[in-house]
Structure formats: structure tokens, C-alpha cells
């Protein structure tokens, strides 16, 4: 049974599925607040379809992955190892981290890049409730006037944005939904 979960649930047609998945991921990262569907894989619980597909699209033996909280199960480790070969590391070394907001925190554990190489920072995949275009008000690159997105912790995201051009970048996943928040976005609470 374990073996079947470990080997199944990957991309059916890797080059095409990954191309579609990347286009969705790139679109939401380029347009903060936009919500897209992201499908193509069937990851083991508790990973959402969107989070699992994103990991298969971006991770390989060159990327270090941190499984936070409830996502760090034997089955998830086996599944990711079989499909991506990515090594598992603590939060402080991670290129990608996945988990609920509470399990991922605090943010200061993650790499934020260096002044010469701000790209060497962690990307956090935040699993959560259904995504909505409300609560936080977003402005900045990729946004025409203002955008809206339900964020788990506006204060922490504002502190991260204040580090610009350093800082972490975020994907938010729920079921087959995905949205993103790059460090370049200015955030304020609605109202």
C-alpha cells in the first residue's frame, strides 16, 4: 500500500504537465492577488493538489525542501523522494518549505538572500483555507491599481516586504487553488 502511494500520483506526462503548472505558478507570482487552478499530481495527504504539483514542478536534487509540521510524514517524504529526489533539511537551509502558516513560522528562520544575491532566499508554500480576494490590500509590481488576497498574517508579511530586496516569497495553496505574494508587494489591512 505504502509503495503504491509512493510511486503513484506523479505527472502523467511530465514535460507538458510541468509546463502547464509552471505557467500557472509564473502567472500568480507575476500578478499578486490572482488565483489560479494548479493540478496535475495526486500527492499523499496532507499535501494539497496545488502544493504537490508545485513541488513536482520546481524541486529536484538541487533544491533543499523543508517539510513543516504535519506535512513531515513518512509517506510524504517517500513520495517526494521518489518523484523529485530533493533532500530534506531544517527551515534555515531550505530553498522551498511547505506546511500550514502556523507550522512554517516564525519567518526569521528562513534564508532571505544576501544583498549581492537576493535570489538566494526561501520560497514558502503556505497551505491553508480556501483563497479569497479580500482582507489584505496589495500594491506594487504586477498589480494594476490594487489587488486583494486573504493572507494568514498581514503583520509578518509586511515585515518581510520591508526587507526588500531581501526576503522570502510565498505561494498560497488550498486544494487546487494557488496564489502568490512576492517580497516586492506592499501590503496593508483592508478598511
Amino acid at each position: 500500500m505504502a509503495a503504491q502511494i509512493q510511486f503513484s500520483g506523479g505527472f502523467q506526462n511530465a514535460p507538458v504537465d510541468a509546463a502547464h503548472a509552471f505557467r500557472a505558478a509564473m502567472t500568480v507570482m507575476a500578478r499578486p492577488g490572482e488565483i489560479r487552478r494548479l493540478t496535475g499530481s495526486e500527492p499523499p495527504a496532507p499535501l494539497s493538489v496545488a502544493a504537490g504539483t508545485l513541488l513536482l514542478t520546481l524541486c529536484d536534487p538541487e533544491t533543499k525542501v523543508h517539510l513543516a509540521g504535519a506535512t513531515d510524514t513518512y509517506t510524504v517524504r517517500k513520495w517526494l523522494t521518489f518523484h523529485t529526489g530533493a533532500p530534506f533539511v531544517p527551515a534555515s537551509e531550505a530553498d522551498f518549505a511547505v506546511g500550514t502558516w502556523d507550522a512554517l513560522g516564525p519567518l526569521n528562520a528562513y534564508r532571505i538572500g544576501t544583498p549581492e544575491y537576493p535570489d538566494r532566499s526561501a520560497t514558502l508554500i503556505v497551505e491553508g483555507d480556501r483563497l479569497h480576494q479580500r482582507n489584505a490590500v496589495l500594491k506594487g509590481p504586477g498589480i494594476k491599481d490594487v489587488a486583494h488576497l486573504s493572507l494568514p498574517d498581514i503583520g509578518a508579511m509586511q515585515a518581510n516586504a520591508a526587507l526588500y530586496p531581501l526576503g522570502c516569497d510565498f505561494f498560497f495553496t488550498s486544494g487546487d487553488q494557488i496564489a502568490a505574494l512576492p517580497r516586492s508587494t506592499h501590503i496593508r489591512a483592508e478598511g
Binding site: 514535460p15 502567472t27 507570482m29 507575476a30 549581492e116 532566499s121 530586496p165 516586492s184
Partner: protein, 286 residues
């Protein structure tokens, strides 16, 4: 063709490029290093743009490739054929029908939409490179936001020529932070850098990828008393009569005759198809 992996590159290379694109979008204008691959074409022929396009394309995309605005020059034709063979995507010469546009040194005249992606081929991604040859120093200058040298260069233009003589690859500041080389587009195209489409830049030999998300503030560097000017030849197009498009000058004979034509061949063709006629178009038809 099933002999190739979709869009030529192997999946691990595409993942590496895709991660660089995402970081580039998160820090607009910052040059992300990437492990550029050998491509089946020489450096300088758009290997950076080709790798970015290969990592971006899906089978449903329609690809347009332009070289200095033209769809029918060697570079554009060969890259279009490359992706027809290796990715099996549809190709087009019409800007409006394309979903991904790879370009060398121009931005199309037609306004790009939010469902389009434009990929620039970049020879020298570092705007400070001709002022400071050391990569360690230019990295430090970017990290400290130390761009005084670039303003000195533009000032020297004015003191020597009476105006900013930089006509292409005109430096811009992106989202108020990074100074960026927009690739060798004419400065006429600089105002179009604030657009609805996603802009990706690939430099193969120099191994850098950078990006400008839609609606990002892009400011051409200038001075209060010498403001930036998007210039073009002071003529209408001799084939389609357009007064608003960037023009190429073509020498006609050895008696000094010349003509000006739209550099964007698709724009010129669509205008002529709509009945617009320039100074020399009727002679052509005769």
C-alpha cells in the same frame, strides 16, 4: 517530433530556469544567475531568450519571433523553426495572435495584452558593465543602489553632444530600485516597458535571467533639465504612411536615395492590408 523532449531542454534544466524566472519576477530588474546550457545555435543568436522561451512554452501556445521588428530575418526564422520542430507549437507573424513573443531588440508596435508574454534576447545584461568591468564591483553597486556612475555617463553625453546621445539599450530604473538594461531596444520603445504583459529577459552567454512583471513602474534615467525623449526618424513610413512607428532607414541606390520603413513588419503589413499607403508604396505596386 517525438525525438525531442518537449521544447528541447531536459526537465531538470527547465526547472532550474523556471526557479530563476520566479525569483526574477519577485525582485523586478535584478539579474538572477542561471546555469545557461549549450544550445544548438551560437551564443549571440538568442540562446538566453530561447532557453527562457523553452521553459515558458506550453503545447497550446502560439509563438511569434522577431528580430529587429522583422519576422522574416534569419534569426527569427531559425528560432521559429526550432520551436516548431522541438515543441510542435503553432507559430504566427501576427502580434495579436501570439501568446509568447520572443524578440531581439524591439517591442512590437501593437499594445501587448495581459495574456501575452514577451521574451527578450539580451547580449549584455549588466547596464554598468561598460562603466565597471568587474562583476564583483557591479554586484556591490546594485546591492548598495549606487548608480551615480550611470548618471555621470549620461551627463558626459550631454557635455559632449549637447543631449543624451544614448539611443538604444537606454538604462531604466525598475520599481524604484534596480537599474536595468532593457536589452538593445531603441529608446523609442522604452515607454512601452510599462505594459500589461509579463516581460522576461534571457542572456545566454552571460548566464542571467531577469524579469519585469505587468504594470511595474519603469523609469528611463534622465535629468530634470534634460528629460528623457523617445526619439525616432522624423518621417512617416514610406510603405504604410505610419507616423507613430519606429523606422528603419534603407539606402536605395548610390545616388543618395533612401526610404524609411516600419521596423515592425507585422505592423506595416497590417496597415497596408487596411488600405494605408505611404510615399513609395504605389511605385512598388506598379
Amino acid at each position: 517530433m517525438s525525438e525531442y523532449n518537449f521544447a528541447y531542454l531536459d526537465e531538470q534544466t527547465k526547472r532550474m530556469i523556471r526557479r530563476a524566472i520566479l525569483k526574477g519576477l519577485a525582485v523586478p530588474g535584478y539579474q538572477v544567475p542561471f546555469a545557461s546550457r549549450e544550445m544548438p545555435m551560437p551564443y549571440g543568436w538568442g540562446t538566453g531568450g530561447v532557453q527562457v522561451s523553452a521553459a515558458t512554452l506550453t503545447p497550446e501556445d502560439t509563438l511569434k519571433v522577431i528580430d529587429q521588428g522583422a519576422d522574416d530575418t534569419t534569426n527569427a526564422v531559425s528560432i521559429r523553426k526550432f520551436f516548431e520542430n522541438t515543441a510542435g507549437v503553432e507559430t504566427t507573424e501576427e502580434t495579436a495572435k501570439a501568446t509568447v513573443i520572443q524578440t531581439r531588440h524591439r517591442i512590437p508596435e501593437a499594445k501587448l495584452r495581459d495574456d501575452q508574454i514577451i521574451v527578450y534576447q539580451v547580449p549584455i545584461p549588466e547596464p554598468l558593465r561598460f562603466l565597471e568591468p568587474r562583476e564583483t564591483e557591479t554586484r556591490k553597486m546594485h546591492s548598495l543602489e549606487e548608480y551615480g556612475l550611470m548618471h555621470v555617463k549620461l551627463y558626459e553625453d550631454i557635455s559632449q553632444h549637447g543631449a543624451i546621445s544614448t539611443a538604444y539599450a537606454y538604462p531604466v530604473k525598475v520599481s524604484g530600485r534596480y537599474v536595468m538594461d532593457p536589452s538593445p531596444i531603441p529608446k523609442f520603445d522604452n515607454p512601452k516597458l510599462e505594459m500589461d504583459a509579463i516581460q522576461l529577459f534571457g542572456a545566454g552567454r552571460e548566464q542571467r535571467i531577469y524579469a519585469v512583471p505587468p504594470h511595474t513602474k519603469v523609469v528611463s534615467l534622465d535629468f530634470e533639465d534634460y528629460p528623457f525623449e523617445a526619439t525616432k526618424a522624423e518621417h512617416p513610413c514610406d510603405l504604410c504612411g505610419a507616423e507613430d512607428s519606429y523606422l528603419d532607414e534603407v539606402i536605395m541606390d548610390d545616388a543618395g536615395n533612401r526610404m524609411f520603413v516600419c521596423s515592425d513588419t507585422d505592423y506595416c503589413r497590417s496597415r497596408r492590408a487596411a488600405g494605408h499607403v505611404g510615399r513609395l508604396a504605389e511605385e512598388d505596386a506598379a
